[in-house]
């Protein structure tokens, strides 16, 4: 994942988190605000309803009082106060009067509580309403709820009583409205509000007793629990109910107990306030918030992408510069814009590459000088050995010529032999240096590494058990499933032979030479281990440096040539060693050796033998 992508992801996470937190906060705050608003609205509506209800009650009181004050009623009361008055003539009066005053219930009741005329129960004439004659200040009581017997069965009435007194006789006017769908329909309710009435006329909850302005409420059973609670303990309650799975169907109810004169529960008024408008408004706001948030997120996405690109552009330039430096382009410079940390970093990078370039130049020069010095030292060392015998031989010849001419011939023959021998040594030295300078290009071909290893071991078999030296035991651990590899077999053979010779040199007292082949990671591995004297860490570090040797007569070119061969095949070589335990060389070769440019190595014109040199 690129730095730009990471930065973009970080931006997006930060943006999403911010939007999420804000959205949740706004949602919760909005919902609370709506709930508070709904609650206030509901309470206001309930208060409005109660005012309407009170107005209705007062209206009933006024209408009943108007009937009592009417001349016909007073005349009826006067007539009834007379002894043996004929009350039957008034039996139908209540019906007409109730219609003219728009009352559902109207009873004219005599002094003894006997019904003289009844609108709702005309057949009940003569029967007594006992509670009406009990001492009571009906004017102060106003309207009240009571159960009324009608031809259709018991009903709930909002009633008022007015007394017409003639002499010492009373006539009672008992009138009111039926609490039911018509009463509910007559109430002026705000939009979204409705009133339900449960008539508590039966011992248990009866759905048919729950009515609204249109009659019995469908799904009235859903309210049974709340009404039953009210029946058990009459008090004001609020609750909310969802009629369907849709939250917009929710309706909050205020439950008001309707009590009779004795405090008995006669009914329950349920003032419902639909939550539909509020829920729909809340949904609209949430939808708008989601839309804005989505647009914000999209905008933030683009902005983050652009921002990440802009922020990481200097870093990418730095990375590109670093990559170029790693490829050896030491003169790489990055553009510096502004004065921020990235610009400072770019400046530091440029200074660093400048200094690195300068230091590398100095190092190359120093290494070059050191190499030349080393070469000169080596050459001097190598050439000094043959030169000294040459000088001594020539001086012996001069002395023999001057002091023993008779022996000169003999000395001359011996000396020329020595001179030729030393000159051969000089040629060999020159040839080795020449070979190192002219390393050939590998000529690739399919090679079975196991066969190569077996061939080399067989070649050295006679030397492992040579007379006069302690034996060396070769051990082969070869992976028979080893794939064929594309290498120059001659070069590889010489490199391995060089390592085997080094191992033999490292075991003057004999030991075990182990060769192991394995394959992994698309290549093959060769391990050559000895149980010799081992190397120090310092020696291991410098082991592959040209002209470095731990031997008395080595040129220091053997392992350098080995490393060069392995490297030319795209492989790598490493060494592990422990003083007194032994040394292991690990070679990894790819199945198909690439060139430095990623191309196959072109076959060399002709294989050049590499001298095997002991390290």
């Amino acid at each position: 994942m690129t730095f730009r992508t990471k930065l973009f992801v970080v931006f997006m996470i930060a943006l999403l988190s911010s939007v999420g937190v804000v959205s949740v906060g706004v949602t919760v705050a909005t919902r609370r605000a709506f709930e508070e608003s709904n609650r206030s609205h509901s309470e206001a509506l309930v208060a409005q309803f109660e005012r309407e209800f009170d107005r209705h009650k007062q209206d009933i009181v006024h209408r009943v009082q108007a009937i009592a004050d009417a001349e016909a009623t007073v005349r009826m009361a006067i007539d009834l106060s007379r002894p043996k008055s004929d009350v039957s003539v008034y039996v139908n009066d209540a019906r007409g009067v109730s219609q003219s005053h728009q009352l559902d219930f109207l009873d004219f009741v005599g002094d003894d509580g006997s019904i003289i005329s009844s609108n709702e129960s005309p057949e009940r004439f003569g029967y007594k309403i006992d509670w009406l004659t009990q001492p009571q200040d009906w004017a102060a009581l106003g309207s009240f709820l009571t159960k009324v017997d009608t031809q259709d069965g018991p009903a709930l009435g909002l009633m008022a009583v007015s007394v017409v007194r003639v002499g010492d006789k009373n006539m009672y006017v008992l009138g009111g409205e039926r609490l039911g769908k018509d009463f509910l329909a007559s109430l002026v309710l705000p939009t979204g509000m409705r009133a339900l009435l449960y008539l508590n006329l039966d011992p248990s909850f009866q759905p048919a007793n729950l009515v609204d302005e249109n009659g019995p409420v469908s799904d009235g059973d859903r309210l049974a629990t709340f009404i039953e609670q009210e029946r058990q303990q009459p008090t004001r309650r609020t609750f909310k109910i969802s009629w369907t799975s849709d939250a917009a169907s929710a309706e909050s109810f205020h439950e008001l107990p309707l009590l009779g004169r004795q405090g008995e529960l006669l009914g329950t008024l349920l003032i419902g306030n639909s939550q539909r408008e509020a829920v729909l408004l809340e949904r609209r706001i949430l939808l708008l918030a989601v839309s804005v948030a989505t647009m914000g997120l999209l905008f933030g996405l683009l902005l983050s992408w652009w921002g990440a690109a802009r922020v990481t552009r200097p870093v990418r330039r730095l990375a590109e510069g670093a990559r170029r430096v790693s490829e050896g382009n030491w003169n790489t410079r990055v553009e510096v814009r502004g004065r921020n940390e990235i610009a400072q970093l770019a400046s530091a990078f440029n200074r660093m590459t400048e200094q690195l370039s300068e230091q590398r130049e100095r190092l190359v020069q120093a290494e070059r000088v050191a190499a030349w010095r080393e070469l000169a030292r080596r050459l001097a060392h190598e050439l000094k050995n043959p030169l000294f015998p040459l000088q001594t031989t020539v001086e012996n010849l001069q002395r023999a010529k001057e002091q023993s001419p008779e022996q000169f011939e003999e000395v001359f023959r011996e000396s020329t032999g020595i001179l030729l021998s030393e000159i051969d040594n000089l040629k060999i030295i020159v040839s080795r240096f020449s070979d190192f300078a002219r390393m050939p290009q590998p000529e690739l071909g399919p090679v079975n590494l196991n066969e190569t290893v077996r061939g080399i071991v067989k070649l050295f078999e006679s030397q492992f058990g040579a007379v006069g030296r302690p034996p060396i035991t070769p051990e082969l651990h070869l992976d028979e499933n080893l794939p064929m590899i594309q290498v120059d077999e001659a070069l590889l053979r010489r490199a391995i032979e060089n390592l085997v010779l080094n191992a033999m040199d490292a075991m003057p007292s004999g030991g075990v030479l182990m060769l192991r082949t394995t394959h992994q990671d698309g290549g093959v591995d060769l391990e050559i281990s000895d149980t010799g004297t081992g190397l120090t860490p310092e020696e291991c570090e410098r082991l592959f440096t040209p002209y470095y040797t731990t031997k008395q007569h080595g040129t220091g070119l053997g392992l350098a040539i080995v490393q060069s061969v392995i490297s030319d095949h795209g492989g790598r070589i490493s060494v592990e060693s422990e003083t007194g335990v032994g040394t292991s060389f690990h070679i990894h070769l790819p199945v198909k050796a690439p060139t430095a440019r990623g191309e196959a190595i072109a076959p060399a014109p002709a294989p050049v033998p590499v001298p095997v040199e002991k390290a």
């Binding site: 003539v89 039996v91 129960s121 005309p122 057949e123 009940r124 004439f125 003569g126 029967y127 031809q151």
Partner: protein, 384 residues
């Protein structure tokens, strides 16, 4: 002197003119169409057709009486074959019938040329038509007679000769003894006096038996008083909760009011009656009952009782025994007592027939028991 004589002569002449004119105004006049409105709806004049309501049956009999004067023929034995005083001229079943005078009636052509009878008119419309002179005679419900009279309407009320009774329909659930207790409990629960005084506005009489006091003279022996204590005891003896359904003619406001009052009275004594319009025709489940109205077929108590026994017995599923033809008052009483004691039919009240008369109607004689509308003798005078 001559002036005094002249004045006296003028006064005598004027008195003579007034007397002649008065004589002329009381003399029956031929001609004219009498407009008569009734509440019932007669759909067929066939005596064998089954009427929908008791009121239809009564109205049909009245019309047929005008056409054949059957009952009069039977009672007066004047011979049949010549028809009645009127014959049908125009007939719209259930709505209207026009009768024209029978020129060949043996007892002489009626004074009226024709009678137009409007049927199925509501009580309110009938009184309104009478007030507006759109009708000459209208049928008035007994409970409206008093109020109409107070409004200035000339009301003619007959002797109470129509029995309103509660008939228990045959029941398969209750045993005879239990049925009797149920009937007695209901009978003792009902406040008949309240029905007469309040619902009928004192036009009528409480009925304890099947004959009115004026007919049998023994009606006082049948109690009409309510007895809530006895009724409660009877309901307790019955024990089980009963489901009594009381039907009535939905078009009859009087029956409705009486049925509701009975329901209240029975409920007050511990029973339960539910009131159902137009039902039940029979007792399919529980106890069924309905209100019926029957007219006395004759002022003769024996004949009237026999008529009631024949009509009500099959309806109640009881075998009422009519008094013997030659039976005396005791036999009539015994037969009536036997009918009452079954409690399958509970007599409630005796109803009169009431008519509102317009100003043109002359020589209207209130019909007696067993008599139909007396249009044969009615004539129309001038409007005043």
């Amino acid at each position: 002197m001559s002036r005094r004589r002249a004045a006296t002569s003028l006064a005598l002449a004027a008195a003579l003119i007034v007397a002649v004119h008065a004589e002329a105004s009381h003399r029956p006049r031929m001609g004219g169409t009498l407009r008569f409105e009734i509440g019932a709806s007669v759909n067929s004049l066939d005596p064998n057709a089954k009427p929908a309501t008791f009121k239809e049956a009564l109205a049909r009999d009245e019309i047929n009486w005008l056409l054949s004067e059957t009952r009069k023929v039977i009672t007066e034995n004047e011979g049949a074959g010549a028809g009645g005083p009127f014959r049908v001229s125009d007939w719209e079943p259930g709505k209207r019938v026009v009768l024209v005078a029978n020129e060949n009636w043996p007892q002489g052509r009626p004074y009226l040329d024709s009678i137009e009878i409007q049927m199925a008119r509501s009580a309110h419309d009938r009184l309104l038509d009478l007030d507006l002179d759109r009708a000459d005679i209208v049928e008035i419900a007994p409970e409206e007679a008093r109020r109409a009279s107070e409004r200035g309407v000339h009301v003619s009320v007959s002797q109470p000769d129509e029995l309103l009774a509660l008939v228990f329909l045959p029941s398969s659930e209750a045993a005879d003894a239990e049925q009797q207790k149920i009937g007695e409990a209901v009978s003792r629960s009902i406040d008949r006096a309240a029905i007469v005084n309040f619902i009928l506005q004192k036009e009528g009489e409480p009925a304890g038996g099947f004959l009115p006091q004026w007919s049998s003279g023994t009606a006082f022996l049948f109690s009409t008083a309510t007895d809530p204590v006895a009724a409660r005891n009877l309901w307790s003896e019955i024990g089980r909760s009963l489901k009594i359904t009381l039907g009535y003619d939905a078009s009859d406001s009087l029956e409705h009011s009486v049925a509701e009052r009975i329901s209240v009275d029975v409920r007050e004594t511990g029973g339960a009656i539910s009131v159902v319009p137009d039902g039940p025709a029979h007792s399919s489940k529980g106890e069924g009952a309905r209100l019926v109205r029957l007219s006395m077929s004759s002022p003769n108590p024996r004949e009237a009782l026999a008529h009631f026994a024949n009509e009500l017995g099959p309806l109640a599923g009881a075998e009422f025994v009519a008094p013997p033809v030659d039976g005396g008052p005791q036999q009539i009483y015994d037969a009536e007592r036997a009918m009452v004691n079954t409690y399958r039919v509970v007599p409630l009240v005796w109803l009169p027939r009431a008519y509102g008369l317009g100003p043109r109607v002359r020589d209207w004689k209130t019909p007696g028991p067993g008599e139909g509308w007396p249009f044969a003798d009615v004539w129309l005078g001038d409007m005043k």
